[in-house]
């Protein structure tokens, strides 16, 4: 994987400066993910006028307002459904969805599995901070077992979702995961997702220092990010010798890829063929 520098990339070219300062808490990993997304967009030379960003509700949902593009901040859990209508109606637009673990996997879980199955060209960036941050720190579908949240005072008893395994099982054309520690790798992963012709699901392991970290004595943001880094197993190094020594090995990198036909193009081809035949 190419690790380049950000020499020719100025994030301010892609932000709405009038919306600054942003509202994210100190230490929140979402800003790193946003920067990686904008860097990937820059690297690919995507036209901001043709870029549409659709986001749901929650901390991740608020990010669309900061991006200098056509941005749509929609209802809780539904950004993939809004984006499906937008992308089908306007195949000339590049449609990106920004969502969180609660937005995407709890209230919006049905839309995720069907977006994966349908394989319409969309890039879905799910920022996983293991918690409902905006509402004050309640348990989410990705909260690790035994973690404390405001609604799991006994420690979380529910098993957590592996979002990438879910997306893969549902047939997503592209599935990947990265941590915020590895910004250039995250950028490259998002780039690969943006370039994928069908539905691309990218999970970013983010950190919620202020609420989740504090509640669970996880230390500072840098400590949380370093812990995440220590717990991953990049898919590129699956066979390396240190793998067995890792206590908790979360796969990262590109985790699944297939070349199932993209839905929008398939639909338009079928319609054209039928018109031609009649």
């Amino acid at each position: 994987m190419l690790i380049d520098t950000a020499a020719d990339f100025d994030v301010r070219d892609y932000l709405r400066k009038e919306m600054m300062p942003h509202f994210l808490c100190p230490g929140c990993g979402h800003g790193i993910a946003l920067r990686a997304l904008l860097w990937a967009i820059h690297d690919l030379g995507l036209d901001k006028d043709r870029l549409a960003v659709v986001s749901g509700i929650g901390c991740a949902g608020r990010l669309s307002a900061y991006i200098d593009a056509n941005t749509f901040h929609v209802t809780h859990g539904r950004p993939l459904a809004y984006a499906t209508g937008l992308a089908l109606a306007r195949p000339d637009l590049h449609v990106v969805v920004i969502t969180g673990d609660g937005d995407c996997l709890a209230i919006g879980g049905n839309h995720l599995i069907h977006a994966c199955r349908r394989n319409l060209k969309l890039t879905c960036l799910m920022l996983n901070n293991e918690v409902y941050g905006m509402t004050g720190g309640q348990v989410s579908p990705t909260t690790s077992e035994t973690r404390l949240t405001t609604t799991t005072p006994l420690g979380n008893q529910e098993p957590h979702f592996d979002a990438c395994a879910l997306a893969t099982a549902a047939g997503a054309g592209f599935v990947g995961r990265e941590v915020t520690h590895h910004v250039p790798k995250l950028k490259e992963l998002i780039k690969a997702g943006l370039e994928h012709p069908g539905f691309a699901f990218v999970e970013v392991q983010s950190d919620c220092t202020e609420i989740f970290g504090r509640k669970n004595d996880m230390g500072s943001s840098s400590e949380m990010i370093m812990r995440q880094k220590s717990e991953i197993r990049p898919s590129a190094y699956l066979d390396t010798v240190d793998t067995p020594f890792r206590s908790n090995a979360l796969p990262t990198g590109i985790l699944a890829r297939n070349d199932r036909p993209e839905y929008g193009a398939t639909y338009r081809r079928a319609a054209a063929a039928r018109k031609g035949a009649s």
């Binding site: 056509n70 929609v74 539904r78 459904a81 499906t84 109606a89």
Partner: protein
């Protein structure tokens, strides 16, 4: 010539079709090029017809994973600048409400068909009802304006579908087309003449980006919309926003934007209002009804008139905003008002408010059967003789 050719070429043809098919053809003629839906009785024929026909006009049909997603996809398509519609019935209409509120607040044009069936809950999927009158107006949380049209025949479903798209596009608002299962699945002859209809287009943003304010209502309270790709790069949100489109909780900006939103439809009542008064000029008794109940009431009025009784019918075609002025005018000489409806009194509640001081009697049937002309005629006769 098939019906779709007729709808597109404007060569008028008379066809025997059902209300739901008339709705689908009206949508095509109005320029609808996107439909997202979810199967539900008794509205599914609209989706089935459009699944075949939208692809013939370079449109898109998609069956989504649920009712919520269908409404969301319709709004998404409309945000992209394409005329879009969904169709459903009671339970699905309930599920769509949150996103309908989004469309009202963010001012995204769209058309929602609700074919009313017996309720509450799963109710009677194949039986008619008129019990979603209030839900169509107040179904989503918060305070917002919306247009609701209540056609009473297959032909009127066709023409009101055309008008629904016009009003949605012109006023940047969701429009609900509300009709009962009887006229949805009733077949009548319809003149498919909608292709000659001058379809309204949305007011699009033009001019320099720096001067453009996405929610500036201008002189008519209807903001021009930016089409993605035209270089305006705006933000659309369900959060309360200022003229810039960005979220705000600043009290003056909130009040200003919501006041404009609430005034938007009131300022265009000339365009929106539609109602019909039959034999109301001298009527002692005025019947107020919509949909299939209004069809039955029309026959009842004829029967009463044949007996020399002064009975008339007032029929809202645009139900919300309610044609209050027109009803007061129609009932100016009435000593009694009769409201036959397939619910426990939703229309009666509105009529009682509009005609405060006049005796209003309800004829409510919620058995899953349609109200018959003789039921209405008997009550109207008693009222006319007593009055």
């Amino acid at each position: 010539m098939n019906a779709i050719d007729t709808a597109l070429t404007g060569k008028s043809a008379v066809k025997l079709i059902s209300g739901n098919h008339a709705c689908a053809l009206g949508a095509i003629a109005a320029g609808c090029r996107f439909f997202a839906g979810y199967p539900i009785t008794p509205s599914s024929e609209i989706a089935e017809r459009l699944a075949r026909q939208l692809s013939e006009v370079d449109g898109v049909f998609v069956q989504m994973e649920d009712e919520i997603a269908s409404m969301a996809a319709v709004i998404g398509a409309s945000m992209g600048g394409v005329k879009a519609m969904t169709a459903t019935s009671g339970p699905g209409f309930s599920l769509k409400q949150e996103n309908i509120g989004y469309a009202a607040g963010a001012e995204i044009p769209c058309v929602i068909v609700n074919v009313m069936r017996g309720g509450p809950s799963t109710g009677m999927p194949t039986r008619p009802s008129q019990a979603d009158i209030m839900q169509a107006r107040w179904g989503s949380h918060g305070d917002y304006p919306i247009i609701v049209l209540t056609p009473a025949s297959v032909g009127e479903i066709y023409s009101e579908t055309l008008r629904a798209f016009d009003l949605a596009e012109r006023c940047r608002t969701p429009v609900v087309l509300l009709y009962d299962q009887v006229i949805a699945q009733l077949s009548e002859t319809v003149a498919l003449d909608g292709a000659g209809h001058a379809s309204a287009t949305r007011k699009w943003a033009s001019g320099p980006r720096a001067a453009y304010q996405p929610y500036d209502g201008g002189s008519d309270a209807i903001p021009a919309m930016a089409r993605p790709g035209d270089g305006y790069r705006t933000h659309t949100t369900g959060l309360t926003h200022s003229e810039s489109g960005f979220p705000t909780q600043q009290p003056e900006a909130v009040t200003r934007n919501l006041s404009r939103l609430f005034s938007k439809l009131e300022r265009h009542r000339d365009l929106i209002d539609s109602s019909e008064a039959l034999h109301c000029d001298d009527a002692d008794v005025v019947i107020v009804a919509i949909g299939i109940s209004a069809r039955a009431a029309t026959r009842a009025v004829e029967q009463c008139r044949a007996q020399g009784l002064r009975v008339g019918l007032f029929r809202p075609i645009t139900f919300w905003p309610f044609p209050e002025k027109q009803l007061r005018q129609a009932a100016a000489k009435a000593r009694a008002v009769l409201v036959p409806e397939m619910n426990t009194g939703q229309l009666r509640l509105v009529v009682e408010r509009v005609l405060a001081g006049v005796a209003v009697e309800g004829l409510h049937l919620f058995s899953g059967e349609a109200i018959t002309p003789s039921d209405i005629a008997a009550r109207a006769t008693a009222l006319a003789r007593g009055a």
